[in-house]
Each structure stands twice: as structure tokens, then as C-alpha cells.
Chain length 393, copies 4
């Protein structure tokens, strides 16, 4: 066996997404056989010197920086992995591209289409590999859905409906964290959750043609967090100051796809009882599919052919060696977890880097991130103006 | 026990809906204890003399007529039950009202809001009892949902999403029956299926404020049926003539409710694999509910209070004696079927007639039928004009 | 059309099962097309003169009797329908047979195998039609399962496991009704619930070879009901007397079938949360099936052939016209209820009577009732003696 | 923070279970915060020199050995992790104990109770920590079930029923791998799968009192694998020799528990369509629980208290920070996979070693492995002798 390429990773951010990405870098070398390359955890950057040093130690990075510019300047970093808040996506990625770093950026790629376009332009000009972390493309059941559709097994697609429902800001006293601040986040449930289902629509059934949408902010003011760094579940201190919420709590849209299908999209963080409830259903002329992220090892399939006596929705347990990604894992019926999507995603990116392969179409590039941002912009425009908006190119 | 009031029933139509209504009239006197009144199957009307005579014999009507005007003229008929095609709703109901008959009309009440308004006006002027057969209000689980909401257990309602998915016209060779003809039906999936979810939205969470919608006709031409009377599942004869389909195969809408909630509505007859898949989910600030008509004995409830360790979606098997309507039926766990909704619905109407009670709010009146028609009109207008439409009053 | 045969029905008992049977007699003439015969509700018998008269009026019987001997003596009664307690099964059925009445008897046929054998002998000698009301054979999904197995689609059967779980006597203060009294009932959960799964094992996969079983009575004494007639859900009056419970609250068994399969059987009335939870799973060399009575419109099927990528358990919604019994009812997806099983069962029996057809193998005869009783006896013997018992013939 | 204890791990075997254990050792230091100790992957042993060297490289062990005695002799090894076939459990573990190594052994602990007893005796005498890898105790939902039961929330336990169904030897041409050879495996489905449900019965509801069981071998002869090392899914070469299968393909048992509960146990590897279908249901006087390993993030709970209108089975998504183990992982609704059980299990063991804590009762010790083996022996004895067998102590 030839020696594997080593790829130095520089990571920006070490919270929820950082942990998920690190786990992937550390797991894939022995789980994916053969691994496409060997990631080397070179450096991690964050603003809090103590916290970033602790993260470096915990996760096994060689160095820690308190300024992302140091990451970009570090010649040992070949891949810049940007898991920071949305308002820290563009500048580091653009600088990274200019420095010739390959790029992995968390979703949404940017706060709006214009910002995303700059990032795409920088990455394209630099001829680096670039990926936006739409990790649900790398759920085995979702990839299996993709393959069935590509093979024509669904026939002509008539409907695509998807939702992404969570409930973590149901409590009006949940603080106004950065995800609820337009300046930092760009939008609310739309960019955070909606971008995922927008990307899945594009990945699975093609471009959107138009959207007729609305948005709503139910809780218009929330207490400010008591410290600049507030974990996702944080509660504000009593007597704290309050600040307006200027992003959407929810959006809903009736959609048309370029291929002729129709359907709905919806995302919210106030659907009490729904924790990470991303799901879609696709109806074709020959077969239909449905999926629910909270049961991510299952794909439901209805085939129009066959005897009426035994037709029905088949719950495929996507844990067979013939299913995408599974031969790396366990025997049938031994289910995998949410974080495995990142192992698959990052292995895909490392393979693209090490072997100069395309990230697209199986992985989402900055082009896909830009397209999702354009669609999110159209949704906001439709909601604001009260009319159907054609999705531009 | 006082002698029960007898109410002479005159029925228009004897196909699918006729059978379901007859079953209710014949079942309720011994199942509902005490019955609110005794229906007497007086006469049935239909255009085909042989068929209507056979129906009268099968179902136990005393007389059969080939013209609905005979029903209306029959003094023994106190309740006109109109289960004919949509274009035979208005004239018989209006004539019936003028003749002082109580009215039960299948949904959608009319082909559009204007027609529905005339029917409502006639019924109101005549001071008769009037009901539109939105029978899903009478599913025990739906009534239970209504009661929980009315008791405030869901708190402030944030989301209402509902769909009604069927697949019986997926095949392009399925003939252009009357339900696919605008003149006869008014609209397609919208009026046939969508009206149900529109009514449930209004029944459960209140008036709609606006709709942003689209419609689509996937299969624009179909073979004409080979005879004027074609059963629902009929196939056209080879070589038959074709006619355009001028109603929607599907609609999708993003909606706002007057109470502030948002969500989506969708109906289609081309969702392959979905047979009678009407479902809704309601998210409130204190609890959430979901329901699926194909499992109509179950109601799913998530309560926001309680210990995190044991919180979750509770699948309530709505077969306990404490549940609505159930004490008339069987012991716990002995599930009931779709047609039982009509037993409850018609018992409710007979009670209103016999005891001069209001059909509303538990039953749907012609006012509710009219409101649903206005909303369907708004959906069509929004789809046509590409803008959000405020729902008028 | 020839005139239909009329069959005079004489019914013993008017509680839960009486209501279900009456509903079937009244419904099938217009639902089953053409009906096999026309049942005429001739007479109903029960010990309480007032109650039986009310039942006759409610259900439409011409006469009421306070002694079952009057039913047997009534020449207008052609079919004796025995829905009384278990200790009133043998004498009326044997007398009825001697009087040339056809017989329908609720399950379990008798309190033990010896009593069942006498009933079978009497019915056989009289050359009347005889049926024991194992109604779950007439669930469309169960009949569909039967047809798939008969067609060899499951291959060699390896496993049959079934359970029947209820919870209505979980409360120790639930009174000692007749079902908890060995003299009246014969056995407890075993005869009441277990007999159903024993019959389904025999119906679907063949004779049992051996049982290795245990039984248990958790609550050994209960308050006596305050009146002789206590409804199923009744509570005893405060300060009432208590009596021992001398039947099983539960049984469990490891079983062998003559065809070589193995599995388990279990029934209980103390499985808190399980209301009418009868279910089975059958694993064959080519396919597997599972079923749950609380979702009786669904049959789950796994086929061993086909591509691994799309294999899985298919949830067949048993509401298509191609499914057993369904063409009598509603369009696809319009589910039916528990009591419809009796419509199918009694139509089958009336057809056997009117057209001199065999009740077996689709319906359960007294032979099947006897075989189930023998197996229940073997389960009790195994439990008592602590050894595996071969099931005799 | 004090420096963490380092614990040198010596692993025997590198197939399925080896991979799962390695993943746990490599993952827990950064996922479990703080980690109880730092495992150091010291050495791995296996018979094939090339393969074991490759495994060492892949998984990051410092050394590889071709004889387990070298592991035992290595002073850098403090913990012997035995994931070899069942016939290589006893000798290495006993030698390891004598050498003062802590012990982790895959299940079943031994091929029978006598062998297990020797292992327990050796581990006890040596005063080392010892654990048998009944990893399902470390599923968050199972631990949550344990905690609810310990808190008395289920009340008196009436029933425990469990099954473990797989289908990987359905094909008669699947080769006779070591798991089908009594000399190597001890027993078949019983020891491999049944031991898990026996352990869960003991963990959750207490000791078994008696078993009434049967076993069966459906396919009595299979082709020999073509090489000594055959992966789980291997197929034999054409024309290969055949050998008898002398272990059970399945067992089924009716069981009594010492606390008074009854129920059933079953395991099989020929339940077509069931991949890793381990499930249990527990009915108590106050609440009931059910669990299915293929949906391991869900626990179903029915509570007997509360209003009848809203009672039902609650599907608890066990991904909240308040649930066992979850604070180490992801936000609510982000499900975890099967292999996470080993992370929890091995963290528990390392904590016991580093901080001299008891493995029991949350983890399974060799005592638990021995008790499970005694119960498996009793099941075989009951099956062989056709009588109920009291489980000895």
C-alpha cells in the first residue's frame, strides 16, 4: 500500500459542530478502509485563549490560535474547516482561498446570497476544493434515495415536501443567542434548518423554480445572554437586559420545482415536541420515498408496480452492506448515529483533495451553498412582498 | 321512555357517499343509546331508474325517484340528504330549503363561494337545520383534539400543517370522471380533499388569514369514461375519446391563521402510495398534536410539561369510554372504522333536528361550507395571480 | 335474481358479543353484495325479563325469551347464536343440535376439551352447520396472511409467535366477574384470549405438537360484584364480600408445531397499557409476516427475495379491492373497524347454511373449537405438572 | 485538572467486536468529559501474523502478538480485552487474572456455566476488575428503563418478555462458521443472542426462577467454510465439504422470575427480515416499558396514572441531556448509534479501574456472565429433558 496523503486541518470553532467534525477526522482513518487520506489535526482557532487551548488538548490539535488569520497563515494547514458562527464564514473562507487552502464551511454558507457569491468566487478563482457541510447528503438512507431517483426508479417526480422542525426556542425566556440575531446569523430557522431541506430538494429532485412563502417571528424580544459565549441550551440570568429578535422563528413555502413537481417546505424552532425532525416525502409516477432524520437508519419506499395484495410502504433498514457507506460499519441491523454523516462527508472531501476529484455532485460545493442562499433570499423576498418569487440563477 | 321522533329521510345519490350515509341511518338507532331520533328511509332519487330502484331495495327506502324534485316535493321527507355530484348540490338544497326540508349536503358544499353563499342564504332564510358533511369532525380522535384545544391544553397555537394525499389518478389513463371536470366539480383535489383540511383548520384552530398558494394539473388530458356513470376506479375503453382536465391535480399553500399561527396545506391525488392519507399536526406553546386518518383510532400528543426523562409523543388509542363517541361502541382497543364518522355525524344532525339544537359548532353548517369555499377560492386566486391573498369574510 | 333464503336467528345473550353479532346480521344484507342469505332476527333469550325485552326492541328481534330452551323450541329459529357465558355454551348448543338448529357459538367453545367434545359430537351427529366465533380469521389482513401462506409464499415456516395482551383487571379492586370464576369460565386469560391465538396458530401454520407452559394468578382474591349482572368495566361496591380467583391471569408457553416450527404463545389481562393487543409474527424460509389487532387494517410482510437495497418490511394497508372482503366496503385507505370481522364471519356461516357449503377451512367449526380446547387443556397440564406436554388428537 | 491515569490495553481478537471496542477506546477520551482514564492501545494479539500486524497499524496498537500468552505476559498491559471466539475466553482470562490484569470479556462469558465459574473464581481470587461485555446495559434507553424501575415507577413487575431475532443463517448454504460449532461456541442462538436477553432480564427485573424451554436446529448440516477465518457473511466455495451443526438455531422459553413475574424469552438467527431485532416489554402494576434495539434511541413508556383521555404509550426519544450518557453527545434529536454502547461500557470499566469502583450493578461482572451461563444451561436442560427447570444459584 502506498503511503497515504496527510492533510493538515485547521479548524475554526470548537463548539457543537467542531466536536462533530473532530470526531469525523479522528474516526475515519480506522473506519473507512482504506481511508482516502490521513487528516492531521494541525491547529484550532477561537477567540477565548483558555477555551481554545483546552479544545486543542481535548481534541488533539497541535496548536491553538486566538485569531483565525493565524490559521490561514499557517503553512501546515491545507484544509480550513470553518465551523464558526455565520458571520465568521465569509472572511476566513475568502482569505483561506486566497492562501490556497481547501475549504470546508458549515451551513448556511453565508448570511445571504451576495455574501455566498463572494465566497464562491474566491474559492473558484483559487482552484481549491470547497465544500459546504450539508451533511444530510451523507446519511446512508438519503444517499440511497438519491441513487434510486438517479436510476429512474421513481419515474417523473410529482411532489417534494419537506420540513425541519425543532423546539428549542419555545420558551420565551430562552436567550437571544447569536442564532437569533440577524447580523450574526443572516436569518433564523430559514438559514439554520431551512437551508438543509432546500439543499436536499436540489440534491434529490433538482432546482426550485418558485417559492410562495411567509415567515413569522413569534417571540419578538428575548433576554440577552449573560456572557458572550452562551451554550445552545443556556438560560439568561434574572433581571438581564432584553433585545429584539430580528430573524424568523419559522418559514413556510409552497414550492415549484423546475422539473415540474410541487410541494411545501417548512422550518421552525417552535414545534413543541419535535427535536430534530427533518423529514421529506417524494412522490413519483413510479415510486415514492419518505425519510425522517430522527430514524435516520430507515428509508420508506412505495413502489407502484407489483401485486396489489402485497403492495405497501416498505421500511428499508439501511444497514446492509449493499447500502451506501455501510460496509465501513457494522453488521445488518446495528444502527449508526447522526455523527456518522460527518465521517462520510469528510472522507468524501479528503478523497477529493487527495485524489483531485470533484466534490460535486455527491457533496455540496460552495456553488450549492450559494444556490441555497439564493433560494433562502427568494423565500424572504416572497414573504416580505407577499408574492410568488421566481428563483433566480 | 317517550316515543322517539321519526324523521323521514330523502336521499339524493346512492354511490360511495350514499352507501356511507345509509349505513349510518341504519346503524345509529341501535348503536347510539338512546338514539336522538329515528330516521325513516323514505325515498331515494337518482337519474337511472333501474339503478335507483335497486338501491332503494338494497338499502330499504320506501320509494325511488328519478328526479330530485320529487324528493323535494315529497311531504314525508323532512331531511334532504344530498350526496350527488358537486353540480347537483345547489339547486336541490335551495329548493329543499324553500320546501322547509332540513339539509345535509356532501362536501364541498358548492363549486365556489358564490354558489355556496346562495345555498347558505336559502337555508338561513328557511330556518331549517343545515349541515355540510365534513365528517372528519366526527372522528373520535379529532373531536378529542378539539376538546383539548378548547380546554387550552395546547396553549397558544403556533403551527397548523395538514395534508390530504391520495393516489387514485396517478395513471394517465384513468378516465376523466366528473371529479376532473370543472363544470361538475368546481375544482379538483382542492375542493374534494383540500376542503376537508381547510375545515379542520377552522374547526380546530380558527379562521385563516391569508394563503400563498399554487396549483398544478400534471395530466392535462384523459380518456373520457365510456358511460355516463363511471365508478370511481373505472378505466376507459380502448380507443375512447379524450378530454381536457381543467381542475387542479394538486394544490399547496403556505398559510397564516388569524390567531397568529402559520403552516402549510396540501392536497393531491397523485401521491403514489398514499391512499387516504389525511393528516395534521398542531404545535402549541404548551402541547402538540398529530393525527393520521389511516390510523384514525390514534391521536398523538406531546405535552411540554413533565420530567424530561419521560417526555415524548404519546400515542393515545382513542377507544376508551371517556373518549368522544366511544361509549356507543366497543371495549378499549377494539378499533372502529372510517364509516363510523357518519354515524356520529348524522346522530348529531338528527339530534339538532329533533331537539331544535344548533348544528354548530361541533357540526359543520352551510356557513362552514361557505367559509371553506371562500378559502378554496382564495387559494385558486393566489395560485392564479402569484400573490398572497387575504381570506375575505 | 332469485329470492334470497331467509334464516331465522335465535340469539342467546345480549351483552358485548350479542351487540357485535346483531350488528353483523343487520349490516350484511346491504353491505355484502349479494348477501348469501337474509337473516331474520327471530328471538333473543336472556334471564332478565326486562333487559331481554329491551334488547329485543333495541336490536329488532320479534320475540324475547327468558329461557334458552324456548329459543331451541322455537320452530322459526334455524340458527342458534350462542353468545352467553362459557358455562351456558354446552347445554343450549347440544339441545339446539338435537333440535336441528345450525349453531354459532362464541369462543371458547367450552370450558375444557371434554365439554367441547360433547358439543362437537352433538353437532356432527345432527348434521347441522356449526361455527365457533373465532372472528379474527375474518380480519382481512389475517385472511390475506392465510392466502399468502397457502400459496407457499412464506416457504417453510420456522417460527410462530403470538400474544394477546389486555389490561382490564390490573386493578386488584376490579370485581370477580364470571370470567374470573373457573366454574363459569373454565379458565382465565387462557380460554378468553389464548384460545384466539391458539386458533390462529392452527389456522395459519397448522397443528401444535407440544407445549411447555406456565400459568399464574397474580391477584388471588377480588371483591364480588354487587349484582349478578356486572358490566365488563364494573367496580365493586365498598365493603363488599371477596371471593377467590381460581383461573389464570396469564399463561406463557414455548411451543412446537407439527410442521417443525417453534415459537411462543402468551396471553394476559394484566399487561398495563395493552388494550386489545393481539399480535403474531410468522417467519418462513422465504418471507415473514406480522400483524397487530390494534392496527387491524395493516399487514406487515418481509420478502426474502429482491434487491438488498430496497428490501424491508412492507406495511400493506389491507384496504384494496383485491384484498379479502374489501370490495364490500370502501375505497382504498378508508379503514374498517373491529366489528366488521363479524359481518364477514356471519356472512360466511349464512352462506354455508343457505348453500350447504362447508364452514371449514376458512371458518372455525366446533372441531376447531374442540382442538383449541384440547390445546388449552395441554397448556394447563404442562403448567401444573412442570413438563412439556404433547398435544393429543 | 490532575493528570489522568493511563491504562494499557491488550486486546485479543480484531474482528467485529475488536473494531467496536477499539472505536470506544479511541473515542471516549474526547467524548466523555472528563474521561475516567486514558486507555493506551498497547498490544493486540491474533493468530495470523500478517492480519494482526495490519490490525495493529489500522487501530493504533503499539505492538502485535500472535499468541495471547504474550499479551498476558506484557507488563504494559493492565487491561486484557478478550474479543476472541467463545472457546478462547476462559484460558486467556484466567491467565490474565493470575497475572493481575483487569478483564473485559465478550459475551457469552463462557461455553457453559462450569467454564464460567472457573473464570469468575480466577477473577475474584485475583481481585481485578472484571466485566463481561453485555453492552446493551449501556444503551441510554435501557439505562433509563433501569432507573425508572429502580425508582419504583413500574410498581410490581408482572411480565417480562424479550426476544432477539436475526436472520443471517436463513440460507442453508451459509457455512458452518465457528458460531455453529458447539466445541467453539458452546451453544448457538442461545449463547450468542439469548445471553443478552437473559442478562437484561436479570439487570432490569431480577433473577429467573424457572424456565420451560425448547431448542431446535433447523438446518442440521452446512458447508464448511473454505478457510479457517471466514467473515460473518461468508459463503462456502462450491463443492466444499459439509459438517453437522450441533448447536441450536433457536430457543424459546416460558419463564418465571423470582419476583413473581412471568413471560417469554426467544432467540433465533432464522427470523427472516429481522436483522438485529432485540426487544423487550415489561408490564408493571403502575407502568409498562418497551424497547427495540433497531430503534435504540427510543423508549416506550405507558403510565397507568393520569386522565384516560390522554393516556397512551409515550415514545421517549432518549436524546435529552437529562437522559443517561447523552450529555456527552449531541443536542436533542441527534440520534446515536449502536457502537456508542461500547463507549459507555468501556468508560464505566475504566472508571472502575482508575478509581477502584465496583463494576456492578450497572456493569455486568463475571458474576453476571456466570449467572447468565447457568440460566442458558438450564434452558438447554429444560429443552433436552422436556421439563421445567428451576434455575440454580
Amino acid at each position: 500500500m502506498d503511503a497515504l496523503t496527510e492533510i493538515g486541518v485547521g479548524m475554526l470553532g470548537y463548539a457543537f459542530m467542531g466536536k462533530a467534525h473532530v470526531n469525523a477526522y479522528r474516526t475515519l482513518p480506522y473506519m473507512i478502509q482504506p481511508p482516502p487520506a490521513l487528516p492531521r489535526l494541525e491547529a484550532i482557532a477561537g477567540r477565548d485563549a483558555v477555551a481554545v487551548r483546552e479544545a486543542a488538548e481535548r481534541y488533539g490539535f497541535r496548536k491553538s490560535y486566538t485569531d483565525w488569520r493565524q490559521l490561514v497563515a499557517d503553512p501546515a494547514v491545507a484544509l480550513l474547516d470553518n465551523g464558526g458562527p455565520n458571520d465568521v464564514h465569509a472572511a476566513p473562507c475568502i482569505a483561506g482561498a486566497k492562501a490556497g487552502k481547501h475549504l470546508l464551511c458549515e451551513k448556511p454558507l453565508a448570511r445571504d446570497g451576495a455574501e455566498a457569491k463572494q465566497m464562491l468566487a474566491a474559492a473558484s478563482r483559487a482552484h481549491v476544493k470547497h465544500m459546504v457541510a450539508f451533511n444530510y447528503r451523507f446519511v446512508p438512507a438519503v444517499r440511497q434515495a438519491y441513487e434510486l431517483i438517479r436510476a429512474g426508479e421513481l419515474g417523473e417526480i410529482r411532489h417534494f415536501r419537506a420540513h425541519y422542525l425543532q423546539d428549542w426556542i419555545t420558551d420565551p425566556e430562552f436567550p437571544r443567542v447569536w442564532r437569533l440575531d440577524r447580523k450574526a446569523a443572516g436569518s433564523g430557522a430559514l438559514g439554520d434548518l431551512g437551508a438543509h431541506v432546500v439543499d436536499l430538494a436540489r440534491f434529490l429532485v433538482g432546482e426550485l423554480k418558485s417559492v410562495a412563502a411567509l415567515t413569522r417571528t413569534f417571540i419578538k424580544e428575548r433576554p440577552l445572554p449573560t456572557a458572550s459565549k452562551v451554550p445552545r441550551g443556556a438560560r439568561a440570568a434574572a433581571g438581564g437586559k432584553r433585545a429584539p429578535v430580528d430573524v424568523d422563528d419559522t418559514f413556510a413555502a409552497a414550492i415549484e420545482l423546475e422539473g415540474g413537481a410541487t410541494g411545501t417546505l417548512e422550518a421552525t424552532r417552535l414545534a413543541l415536541g419535535r427535536k430534530n425532525h427533518m423529514g421529506f416525502e417524494i412522490n413519483g409516477s413510479r415510486a415514492s420515498l419518505s425519510f425522517d432524520l430522527e430514524r435516520l437508519n430507515e428509508l420508506n419506499l412505495y413502489r407502484g408496480d407489483g401485486r396489489p395484495e402485497t403492495k405497501g410502504w416498505t421500511e428499508v433498514l439501511v444497514t446492509e452492506p449493499e447500502h451506501p457507506f455501510i460496509k465501513n460499519w457494522w453488521p445488518p441491523g446495528h444502527v449508526i448515529g447522526w455523527e456518522h454523516t460527518f465521517v462520510h462527508e469528510i472522507a468524501h472531501l479528503l478523497d477529493a483533495i487527495a485524489n483531485d476529484r470533484d466534490v460535486a455532485p455527491l457533496g455540496a460545493t460552495f456553488e450549492d451553498g450559494y444556490r441555497a442562499a439564493v433560494i433562502c433570499d427568494a423565500i424572504l423576498e416572497s414573504a416580505r412582498e407577499g408574492r410568488r418569487v421566481e428563483v433566480g440563477r
